[in-house]
C-alpha cells in the first residue's frame, strides 16, 4: 500500500512521517507541493512543520499550493488523509475539517510528551486503538489552540467528530480539550500532536517500562494499513 507524504517549503516532519509509514509496513511515497501529481498513492499524510514560514496564518498558504487541488479532490472521493500539526492546520484552512487553530492561549511554544484519549476508533487512522484508550505522543506547537463557534462545537460533539482529547494537561487552550478531529466520513483526521515521533522504541516518549520506549503513534499508521488491506 502506497502512502504519500507531501513536502512543503518549511515542512519539518515529512521524513519522520515517511519513516513511520515504512515502520508500519507501508510503502512511503514522497510528494512535492508544487506538483499536480499524487503518484498513485492510496492514502495521504500532510506533515508537521512551518510551511511557508507560517506567514499569513499557519497552513494557509500551503492550503492553496498546487498539489492541494488534487489532495482536496482525492479527500472528497474518500481517500484517507491524516493531517499532523501543520497538516491539521492545512485541513482546517481548506475547510475539510471544521474550526480553526490559533496561537496557544499562554502565548508560548510548547513541547512535551502529551497524554491523549482516543475518543473515536471509527476511522482508518484510529481503528487499531481501543475506544477511550490513553496514549502518549509528543506535542510541539505554538499555534495549536483549537477554536470554533458554539454552533460548530455543538455539531462536532453531537456528531462524535472529536477523535483525540487532551488528558490531564490542556497544553494550548483548545476548546473542549480537542486535540484532533475527524470529518463526517472518518476518512480525514487531523491532530496537533505527533504520532510519527512515537513509532520506534528508543526514539519515543518515556514510558513506565523504559526511557524513550513509547510507540503509541505507530498504531495510527498500522491502523490505516490493516484497514485498507482488509477492505
Amino acid at each position: 500500500m502506497k502512502v504519500g507524504v507531501v513536502t512543503f517549503p518549511g515542512s519539518l516532519d515529512d521524513r519522520d512521517a515517511l519513516r513511520a509509514i515504512r515502520l508500519a509496513g507501508g510503502e512511503p511515497v514522497a510528494l512535492w507541493h508544487g506538483e499536480h501529481d499524487l503518484r498513485g498513492v492510496d492514502a495521504l499524510v500532510l506533515p508537521g512543520g512551518f510551511s511557508y514560514g507560517d506567514y499569513l496564518r499557519c497552513g494557509a498558504i500551503a492550503a492553496h499550493s498546487p498539489i492541494m487541488a488534487e489532495v482536496i479532490e482525492a479527500a472528497h472521493k474518500g481517500m484517507p488523509v491524516l493531517g499532523i500539526c501543520n497538516g491539521f492546520q492545512m485541513l482546517v484552512e481548506t475547510g475539510l475539517l471544521p474550526g480553526g487553530l490559533i496561537r496557544n492561549d499562554h502565548g508560548d511554544f510548547i513541547c512535551r510528551d502529551q497524554k491523549l484519549r482516543v475518543e473515536n476508533t471509527d476511522t482508518p487512522w484510529t481503528s487499531g486503538y481501543r475506544e477511550g484508550q490513553e496514549i502518549t505522543i509528543p506535542l510541539k506547537n505554538g499555534e495549536g489552540g483549537f477554536i470554533a463557534d458554539e454552533e460548530t462545537l455543538k455539531r462536532i460533539e453531537g456528531e462524535n467528530l472529536v477523535t483525540f482529547r487532551y488528558v490531564e494537561v490542556n497544553p494550548n487552550g483548545s476548546l473542549h480539550d480537542i486535540a484532533g478531529l475527524r470529518n463526517d466520513t472518518g476518512k480525514i483526521v487531523g491532530l496537533m500532536p505527533h504520532p510519527e515521533h512515537a513509532v520506534e522504541s528508543g526514539f519515543g516518549p518515556d514510558t513506565a517500562q523504559a526511557m524513550k520506549s513509547g510507540t503509541d503513534g505507530l498504531v495510527m499508521f498500522q491502523s490505516l494499513l490493516r484497514q485498507v488491506m482488509a477492505a
Binding site: 496564518r57 490559533i102 496557544n104 492561549d105 477554536i147
Partner: protein, 85 residues
C-alpha cells in the same frame, strides 16, 4: 498611484494571545491606561495605474478566500488609499 488596503482582525469573541502578550508588556512598563490590545493585519495591494472596479472585486475575493479565515478572523475594511510614495 493608489493601493487597496485590506484590514483583518481576529474575531472579537476570540482570545487574541498576541494582543494579550503586548498588554502584559504595557503593564510591566507601568502603563495601565489601556484595557485591551488586539493585533490585526493590514495588507496593501499595489496596483499599476488606477484602481478599477475589477481590482476591487478581485481584492474582495482574495480577502475572503486567502487573506482571512472566516472561522477565526473578520475583514474589517477594504478601501483605496493613495500609495505611500
Amino acid at each position: 498611484m493608489a493601493i487597496i488596503v485590506i484590514e483583518v482582525m481576529p474575531k472579537k469573541e476570540l482570545l487574541d494571545p498576541a494582543g494579550k502578550a503586548v498588554l502584559g508588556a504595557f503593564h510591566r512598563q507601568g502603563m495601565s491606561d489601556f484595557r485591551e490590545v488586539r493585533i490585526g493585519k493590514r495588507f496593501e495591494l499595489h496596483v499599476e495605474g488606477d484602481v478599477t472596479d475589477a481590482h476591487r472585486e478581485k481584492a474582495k475575493t482574495l480577502a475572503e478566500d486567502l487573506l482571512s479565515n472566516g472561522v477565526i478572523e473578520d475583514i474589517v475594511d477594504i478601501r483605496v488609499e493613495d500609495s505611500p510614495a
